[in-house]
Symmetry: C2
Subunit: 421 residues, 2 copies
């Protein structure tokens, strides 16, 4: 017996060859269409609908899955009933057959139509998978998921890059990160994480920055040293990398993505070692300078040539890092960045948990401790050593899938020139 | 053999009785402390630390778990090594032994300290559980997790209750909900959900409203009718209710929570039926009026007396609902609210998916369709029938745990008078 089935989705191709019609429908969250076959000798009302089917219509089709397929493509359905649920009213602004590429702007303006194209749809399926696997990993390690406020009175890193909100007549900001909150929580629960939006009013115009993004924030108390954080993040990345490859790797490659290879370990080099590598290769960096995208790109290629797409750069000069990072001898700090494929994906370190030192750090960074009273208070009541990291989820998806622009990883990206849709 | 163990946490009680010290430590994410036992005849350095142990200190303690406990409480550890990792610097603003209750304001101001108290800690463990179980349920049903922008150009329901953001000199708003975005996505993927923050600039001062909250938004395409949405939400609530009771029910009751009973089904009554019940019981409501909290409370008690804490009220007058809700005959609409224990927890319905009707709805609600162009466009390219709901996660936790104030369900709540911490 052929088995009866009902599919719903959008028509992504129509071909009528004499007495037989082939209607391709992208259904459910599939990454390739099902071919619906209609023969003229069938019920004439079905043939009437099929032969005049509009590209892009939303349809519900009942039929049988044949034992032998005739369309020479993956899945096939022989229609017994066709229902048009949403009729297109206008010429489509992008080609939903996928044959003619649209501009990257139109893929954003008409994101919903782009999502019918397997290549773009796959990005957001990968994104959904990585979000849930991140949580599965951290929950299995005893982390508590928390939600911290996005409208805040104090920014984590000073005022220059904050969006201003009018909060009932009071000046407030959109949170750049949950940094202060996740640290305060370290005085009451041992391990927390949050996945949520963050906001940065920086006037970037690059392929790797957005003004609104989604981030993972992790904070872990009672650590012995920063190594506990590096190990946790290494295991998380290896877990996510493996889940992506196992679940979607082949299909993503089939769709043309330059998918990241298996990550087996994440080596650690110091800022100083990284600088030496760069300076032996034509760069002229001085201690205390941050690495620019060109330098990051070079390091990415350097490590790639050594067989690893991911690496930690540790012990940055304290002057390049925020006030809450713990100092180390000789102007260094207990800090790290995680770079993947030459792009910074995460940043973290051990925090200063000693009240007096933290107060001094604020002053040394030119910040006013009285702005941070609610945060500093938490360091008076038995704050354990702790550390953590912030990870850009949009960037992670970008580097895992080999996307050229972070806007491809975000449904409705926000940049200086884009507030709609 | 006694087994060796290391614990980390905060000292929540210290008792020294002659030659023996009992130190209670709230460790990991546990809901009751472990009792650390130290005897004077032990290594004198440990006794020195133990007998002078400060309440509230962050500690790491290594020891053995005895086969027989002497403290007459749940878990016990006989200390072999004590490490003080975070020393309290000041008198605690709330009693971390939990014996003297603090004000609800202080539980928020010092949320990190409150989190050491089993009763408050339990709320946020329940919250973390319910968040993940919500996602597990929806992902297993083929929903795609999405993230939509929080800085937006158009509000979903008009301008009065929007927070204003300065977006590089352009006037923007904080999203009240993902409503417009999740609907647009229905023209490209069949089912989506989002868990994220929402923002409402309403000048409420109640126990059930906040100006920033976390919500679940669900949208499902290709539906036959609103019943598909009601069934989905019913199953979700039954799933979450069961997971909460199975995982934490006994412990929550032991901590004094008025935990919700098992939800087996969620009955549906119409707005008109609900109004008749109310008007037969002393209320004087006219058709077209919304139910106020007093009426909701009465209905909650009415249904509770009939054995169910949760119920749907369906078919509200269209005039009380937003423009995107589909009309029904006689001024009614394809809409519903989910009330639990007399409090509205979710709201949803079938959406108007026909372009011309939707345009008319906007005009009839006094909105300017040109403000919604990017949204309306999505209805031109094969938009299927769809529906969904928005659910307040803070409220869900409130009614599931029987909390008196929504602020208890949120780590750092935001209301008109609270922007810090």
């Amino acid at each position: 017996m052929d088995s009866l089935k009902e599919i719903t989705g959008w028509v992504s191709n129509v071909k009528v060859l004499g007495r037989i019609a082939f209607i391709e429908v992208i259904d459910e969250l599939n990454l390739s269409p099902v071919t619906v076959v209609v023969r003229r000798e069938n019920d004439s009302s079905i043939w009437g609908l099929a032969s005049k089917m509009k590209l892009g219509a939303a349809v519900k089709i009942r039929g049988t899955e044949p034992r032998q397929i005739i369309s020479k493509k993956g899945r096939e359905l022989h229609a017994e009933d066709i229902n048009i649920l949403g009729e297109p009213l206008e010429i489509f602004p992008i080609d939903v057959t996928g044959k003619t590429p649209a501009s990257s702007d139109d893929y954003i303006n008409y994101r919903y139509l782009a999502l019918r194209l397997p290549r773009i749809r796959a990005i957001f399926i990968a994104r959904s998978l990585l979000l849930q696997e991140t949580r599965n990993f951290l929950l299995s390690r005893g982390f508590l998921e928390v939600n911290t406020p996005k409208i805040v009175k104090a920014g984590a890193e000073g005022g220059a890059t904050l969006f201003v909100v009018d909060y009932f007549g009071e000046k407030a900001y959109l949170a750049q990160s949950p940094q202060l909150y996740k640290q305060m929580l370290m005085c009451g629960v041992p391990k927390v994480f949050e996945i949520g939006p963050f906001f940065r009013a920086e006037k970037f115009s690059t392929t790797r920055h957005l003004n609104e993004g989604w981030g993972l924030d992790v904070e872990m108390g009672f650590i012995n040293s920063m190594n506990d954080i590096l190990s946790l993040l290494e295991e998380l990345i290896i877990h996510l990398n493996k889940k992506l490859i196992d679940t979607l790797g082949d299909r993503l490659k089939g769709l043309g993505f330059n998918v990241i290879e298996e990550v087996k370990r994440i080596p650690r080099i110091t800022y100083e070692e990284a600088m030496n590598i760069l300076n032996s290769n034509g760069f002229q960096l001085r201690w205390g300078e941050d690495f620019d995208p060109k330098a990051e790109k070079f390091l990415g290629e350097y490590f790639q040539a050594n067989g690893t797409p991911a690496y930690f750069i540790v012990e940055y000069p304290w002057e390049t890092k925020p006030f809450y990072i713990m100092r180390k001898e000789l102007g260094k700090s207990h800090s790290f960045d995680l770079d993947i494929r030459g792009i910074e994906v995460a940043s973290g370190g051990q925090r200063e948990h000693r009240y007096d030192e933290l107060y001094r750090n604020l002053v040394d960074k030119g910040l006013d401790p009285s702005d941070f009273k609610f945060y500093l208070d938490a360091f008076k009541y038995g704050m354990p050593p702790h550390g953590g990291f912030g990870l850009g989820l949009d960037r992670l998806i970008m580097v895992f899938l080999g996307l050229q622009n972070i806007r491809e990883a975000v449904l409705f990206p926000r940049d200086r020139f884009r507030l709609v849709p």
